[in-house]
């Protein structure tokens, strides 16, 4: 279906079902139950899942296929956000032109940075992109204040022109982002018994865009172009002596992944129309690297999994506090309970980044293929056990 083989179609369908049913899947616990804090099915968080999913999918096209490790991709996300907000300020509150402009501008920006950075490879490339990103951050933070509004960040105001829209609504407030009148913030709440499921317009827009982005990335992975990118990673020398010019291939991959980042940035601004320089900081670039690696670089589904995983646990871990822990471990004797809470305490709440760092190191050390590889290993192990169970009674030979 859609020009994909069966396996890829199945994967696309799985992702489609997961994203479209996310309001149900992420809200498994009744609203007033003790476990409700593990629900993640509210619009704000779900939007973040898919937006970072798009960001990571794009990053994976560059890193997963060509092996070029960019440490500056957040710059494109930031540029996308700024472009979108400017569109809201100048043109209208419709998200379509804003997202389009975000993609185009970040693509151009990626073309510029990629053209320069790709003249080097390996560690030099990583450091060049890092330098560019940090430079962009500094530009946005202070130098280009007229465009970016510096520290405060770019926001909508009541005197923005918005030539195709209104500067202010009838009641004198700033208009909200919309898709041809459908407000991004509008949310339909469905109450089923003790559960409350929220369906948010912005989320569904982002989810459909994620599906399109994911579909496109499958096509790229399976295309001759994608094969060339893998060849670049494998052996550039052979590429050159096979009559292939590696530079436009890597540059195209860089620009495509930059446009994905810009798309994510534009969507972010569409959900909440403001843009700040901190989105461009190199730690933000590090985050998308983490997502891709954690999920499984070079695999199709990995980045989506990684983004969802990190954003979900970021949200959950940040919400757990000592009281919650005491609640969980109250069955233990007092001394032990306090001890366990004491041990876990550094890893929760504000300590989420510590957990993330440790997790990340463990993945790089033990599971370089990320969650996808982990899944495959488990599947293999289960299969192996099954085979063994089937085999043992018949043969009764001692295991070697």
């Amino acid at each position: 279906m859609f020009g994909l083989d069966n396996k890829d179609t199945r994967m696309l369908l799985v992702v489609a079902v997961l994203t479209l049913c996310a309001p149900f899947i992420l809200n498994p616990f009744p609203t007033d139950s003790a476990m409700a804090q593990f629900n993640a099915g509210y619009p704000d968080l779900m939007q973040r899942f898919v937006i970072f999913g798009i960001f990571a999918i794009g990053f994976n096209i560059l890193f997963g296929l060509t092996g070029y490790l960019s440490f500056g991709h957040a710059a494109f996300l930031g540029v996308g956000s700024y472009s979108a907000v400017w569109m809201f300020k100048l043109l209208s509150m419709n998200v379509i032109p804003a997202i389009l402009l975000a993609v185009v501008i970040s693509g151009l920006f990626a073309l510029l940075i990629g053209f320069v950075s790709l003249r080097r490879s390996g560690i030099y490339f990583s450091i060049l992109t890092l330098a560019f990103a940090q430079m962009s951050f500094n530009l946005a933070y202070s130098v280009l204040t007229p465009i970016t509004n510096g520290e405060t960040g770019l926001q909508l105001t009541l005197d923005d022109p918005r030539i195709l829209g209104v500067s202010a609504t009838a009641d004198g407030s700033i208009p909200v982002t919309s898709l041809f009148g459908l407000e991004m913030r509008s949310t339909f709440e469905m109450v089923v018994g003790p559960w409350a499921f929220q369906f948010n317009a912005g989320y569904y827009l982002a989810a459909f865009i994620l599906l399109a982005a994911f579909y496109l990335s499958i096509r790229i992975f399976r295309s001759p172009f994608g094969m060339m990118l893998r060849a670049v990673k494998s052996n550039q020398q052979r590429m050159n002596y096979t009559g292939l010019n590696t530079k436009p291939y890597t540059l195209a991959a860089f620009v495509i992944s930059g446009m994905y980042a810009g798309l994510a940035g534009g969507l972010m601004a569409s959900m909440d129309p403001l843009a700040g320089a901190e989105r461009m900081q190199w730690t933000a670039s590090g985050e998308v690297v983490l997502m891709t690696i954690l999920g499984g670089a070079g695999t199709l589904i990995g980045p989506v999994l990684g983004a969802g995983f990190i954003k979900y646990f970021e949200n959950i871990f940040s919400k757990i506090n000592d009281n919650v822990l005491h609640g969980w471990f109250s069955f233990m004797p007092d001394g032990l309970e306090n001890f366990v809470v004491f041990v876990i305490h550094p890893f929760i709440g504000k300590g989420w980044h510590l957990t993330l760092g440790i997790l990340f190191m463990l993945v790089v050390v033990f599971l370089p293929g990320g969650l996808v590889e982990g899944g495959q290993r488990i599947a293999k192990w289960v299969k192996g056990r099954k085979n063994k169970d089937d085999a043992t009674p018949a043969t009764k030979t001692p295991a070697e």
Partner: protein, 340 residues
Amino acid sequence: MDAILLQILNGLDKGSAYALIALGLTLIFGTLGVVNFAHGALFMIGAFCAVTVQRLLSLSYEVVDESQKDFLGNPLKVKTPYVESWFGPEMGGAIIDWAVPIAILFAIPIMVCVGYVMERGLIKHFYKREHADQILVTFGLAIVLQEVIKYFYGANPIQTPSPEALSGVANVGALLGMDIVYPVWRIVYFFFSVVIIGAIFSFLQFTTFGMVVRAGMADRETVGLLGINIDRRFTIMFGIAAAVAGLAGVMYTPINSPNYHMGMDFLVLSFVVVVVGGMGSLPGAVLAGFLLGILESFASMNEIKSIIPGIDQIIIYVVAIIILLTRPRGLMGRKGVMEE
């Protein structure tokens, strides 16, 4: 003229820090072939060694002083540091005052141990892996170290003053008949870093150990074939690099109050310094460190900022990008290092 000299001086202290961190980075890269994103964290750990030593020295007990009363008429509790009660108020006070220099003594063994554990425990396993993996795992380690420090010391910068005697300003231009007033501690920092850099270079230049390490940097395989255990020496070099970064951190605390993300802040710039100097080139790292430090300070002059606003924020990156594109191996890079 005065202004120019002042800017050069202003660039020296930052340049010294860049040079010291970059020196360790490039040493590790040259010997072990590892790109260490956690090197900035070592700088930060050094700084927090100073904080810890200062706090330990200031540990106090309370005594009730009947002779003094607060405004309610209750006897006042007076805090007395243990150090003062052991060595007498004068000597004890001086020890607390000199906490930062004293921290050097503690930081050296601590940093060597940290470096040793880091190399043996983690980085050792990444020699044969791709550079991307090395970057990633050390990046993860940097996050972990940073968060651990944040957990214990909080997110706010911690003021760590220099000894009173070295905290003022001096007119360094007096000798030249000019009027340049400059903080004493920054001069101390500069000379301190010169001493450290000198020590490292002489160590590598004049000892057999250093000779083997240099030979190993040039051609690891051949040296290995001679039956010399190069790995053990490289591990020791890692410890030394960690100590250098740590000391740079210790001494930097009075200039910039340490916070948990100072390592990351310096790391990006130090990497730029290493690349500009030439990956694996020790003199290159030192040269580029001072050069970029001074350049940054010049760019922050008002006269220059009025021509190109904000240039001070981006000058280092612009220079780095230009140098990398025109001289791919950096200012003093050797051929064959990190090339495809």
